[in-house]
């Protein structure tokens, strides 16, 4: 009897609470689900900068909540459900592996808007957004191809998903263009964030002759490992990682989510929010190239900046033919540019890369 009474009271409170939210509470509540800690110095750090920008832009009119270190999978669904029950109006889920959980939870809360980063599944209340990191990878590949002396470039990859494969291809195409002898050694870390493993991977690559390390994992650990080894070039990933400039970090890809987060929050406040697919890059400033340091020879720096400018104006696309796939079959004819559909689902290496993409 007591238990049923308790449950009934709880249900009533919950009903009242949701009722209150439906009436239009004063503050817009925005939730963020993070895959790593906000202090990772990379991916999650930049998403959190975006969150802080939302707070600064709207002040008292907005309330943000976030949860760090959320594993990709069932736990993510629980976290999103809690945020939705807690009255969030808009929830950003900031890792590829949150794709299915986001769709599942969004189906249960039709009035809550969801924004999933780097995925491809949408619904009426689920938008997707991503950045064209491959534009930055092209610049890195160019610098890497010019700067390597051993002609071995190490690549710490995370998971075999299109976004990561695109990055490897873009970097390789442009490294190979300026240095035909270049070889890529790729390690799949199967994690976004594990500093010890990332450092071990960097060391393994360096011991096997790599003198440039590209990373697609989130922490600064590979930078530290490269610095310790000495004479190894690195690039900041997701965040500037300027602590390691001017060397080993000679440049970086910076994810700049703040303008997007502010615009989407504004849309929710105005009631103009719609499910969209956003994929922006250097032209809109969603992808930024961090300062190229003086450790890079002046003419290489000038070429790299020229590439950035060409991509900004739309004059150059990193995936421009002629390009072949790894198996030797034709992909893009002379002058042909890859379409977004192929890029979004990219699951093949370009010609010249060795090894197989894990299934």
């Amino acid at each position: 009897m007591k238990l049923t009474k308790l449950l009934a009271t709880a249900a009533m409170t919950l009903g009242l609470a949701t009722g209150a939210f439906a009436d239009g509470h004063e503050k817009t509540k925005v939730g963020f689900v993070y895959v790593g800690p906000i202090g990772d110095g990379g991916w999650t750090f930049e998403h959190n900068e975006g969150r802080l920008a939302v707070e600064e832009a709207f002040g008292d009119k907005v309330e943000t909540i976030y949860q760090e270190n959320v594993p990709e999978g069932a736990d993510a669904e629980r976290v999103m459900t809690q945020m939705a029950l807690g009255g969030a109006d808009l929830i950003f889920t900031t890792s590829f592996g949150y794709m299915d959980p986001t769709i599942n939870v969004a189906a249960k809360f039709p009035n809550v808007k969801f924004e999933h980063a780097t995925g491809y599944k949408r619904a009426d209340n689920v938008s997707t957004y991503s950045a064209r990191f491959y534009e930055g990878r092209a610049v890195q590949g160019h610098i890497a191809g010019k700067m390597t002396k051993t002609n071995v470039i190490g690549y710490i990859a995370s998971f075999p998903i299109p976004e990561v494969i695109r990055g490897i291809n873009a970097a390789y195409i442009h490294a190979q263009k300026v240095n035909p002898d270049v070889e890529f050694k790729i390690i799949w870390a199967y994690t976004w964030f594990d500093p010890a493993k990332e450092a071990d991977a960097a060391k393994a690559l360096i011991e096997q002759g790599a003198d440039v390390i590209l990373q697609h994992t989130d922490s600064t650990a590979p930078q530290a490992a490269a610095e310790q080894a000495g004479g190894v070039v690195t690039f900041g990933q997701a965040s500037d990682m300027a602590e390691y400039a001017p060397f080993p970090r000679v440049s970086s890809i910076i994810d700049n989510w703040a303008p997007y987060y502010v615009a989407r929050t504004q849309a929710v406040m105005d009631g103009t929010w719609e499910s969209v697919d956003t994929w922006d890059g250097i032209p809109t400033g969603m992808v930024k190239i961090g300062e190229i340091t003086d450790a890079v020879p002046a003419e290489v720096k000038a070429e790299a900046l020229g590439m950035v400018e060409a991509m900004r104006t739309g004059a150059y696309h990193p995936f421009t033919g002629p390009l072949k796939k790894q198996d030797g079959s034709d992909w893009l004819a002379e002058g042909e540019v890859a379409d977004d559909g192929t890029l979004a689902g990219m699951a093949f290496y370009v010609e010249g890369l060795t090894g197989e993409i894990p299934q």
Partner: protein, 310 residues
């Protein structure tokens, strides 16, 4: 596949470095469990040690001061667990889990402002002739002092638990605390000391991560190493020698699989990536099953609360 690109000497040298954090943490936890206490807070104490060691090493410029303070920090944090579980008789499992959460949060707080800073380099052994020997030099004679200390601690703990009077008392407390109490041993005090030893070891392991293996401070950088240390203690059937074997197997295969990937091994990456877990568990379980059951057994009083009145 181009296996010739893997240099055996530097591979072994890096696997020793990669294994040391887990080895230190697992060795400490083994002593704690031998005293009959289950402290699931290893991850929290490790990360606390990682941040304490890093902050002090950066401020003083001395990595050794960092390690000393990391051990102190880990011990202080474990004392919190000790007081709660030994005097206030709280549930060990819940308190240990709480300690992990607390350690992760506390370290994130203490580490603010130290993200991305550089650790002062730690001196490496450099003996003329010996350190320059091919293969033997990089494997045996060119490490940092903490790595040698960790190996000495394994030998010391193994000997102490087996032969020293103190070790026998500690084990008696872990096997049957009522009997040990009846003999006049201070069960709670002995357990507190074991808990603090475990905390200090976990702190050293964490500091080895932030000062030698990575070396930088990143929030949440232990990323589950503490849980692996806990698992190794169980699979090593509470024997110091096997803790060493387990930690080196795990760290070794982790490093080896990364090297195999870089060398372009024609093995599925998923298999390579899971191999450290699978092989470590299989080896240790097979070893344990070959012995009689007494050798397998956990300390009989493991995880049971003790009160003199009971």
């Amino acid at each position: 596949m181009d296996l010739s690109s893997i240099n055996a000497a530097s591979l072994i040298a890096s696997l020793m470095v990669a294994s040391t954090p887990i080895l230190l943490a697992a060795l400490g936890e083994m002593v704690v469990e031998k005293a009959g206490v289950l402290n699931l807070g290893v991850e929290g104490m490790m990360i606390a040690g990682a941040v304490c060691g890093f902050v002090i090493a950066v401020e003083t410029g001395s990595p050794l001061a960092g390690f000393a303070f990391a051990a102190f920090g880990g011990a202080v944090l474990s004392l919190l667990f000790g007081v709660l579980t030994q005097y206030l008789l709280s549930n060990q499992v819940a308190t240990g889990l709480g300690l992990t959460l607390f350690g992760l949060g506390l370290s994130a707080l203490l580490g603010q402002g130290y993200v991305g800073q550089k650790a002062p380099p730690i001196a490496r052994l450099d003996i003329p002739v010996l350190s320059d020997l091919p293969f033997v030099g990089p494997v045996l004679f060119s490490h940092d002092v903490m790595l040698y200390l960790s190996l000495a601690m394994v030998a010391g703990v193994a000997w102490w638990l087996k032969n020293a009077r103190g070790g026998l008392i500690l084990r008696s407390v872990g096997e049957n605390h009522d009997a040990a109490h009846a003999l006049g041993y201070k069960v709670v005090r002995i357990r507190l000391m074991a808990i603090m030893f475990g905390g200090a070891c976990a702190g050293l392991g964490g500091a080895y991560l932030s000062l030698v293996r990575v070396p930088t401070w990143v929030e949440g950088m232990t990323a589950g190493a503490g849980w692996i240390a806990l698992a190794i203690v169980v699979f090593a059937s509470w024997k110091a020698g096997r803790v060493l074997l387990g930690a080196y197997l795990f760290g070794g295969i982790t490093v080896l699989q990364l090297n195999l990937q870089a060398a372009g091994a024609k093995l599925p990456v998923v298999v390579l990536d899971s191999s450290p877990f699978v092989i470590t568990i299989v080896v240790l379980v097979v070893m344990s099953s070959a012995r009689n059951r007494a050798a397998l057994a956990a300390p009989a009083s493991l995880g049971r609360p003790f009160h003199a009145s009971g």
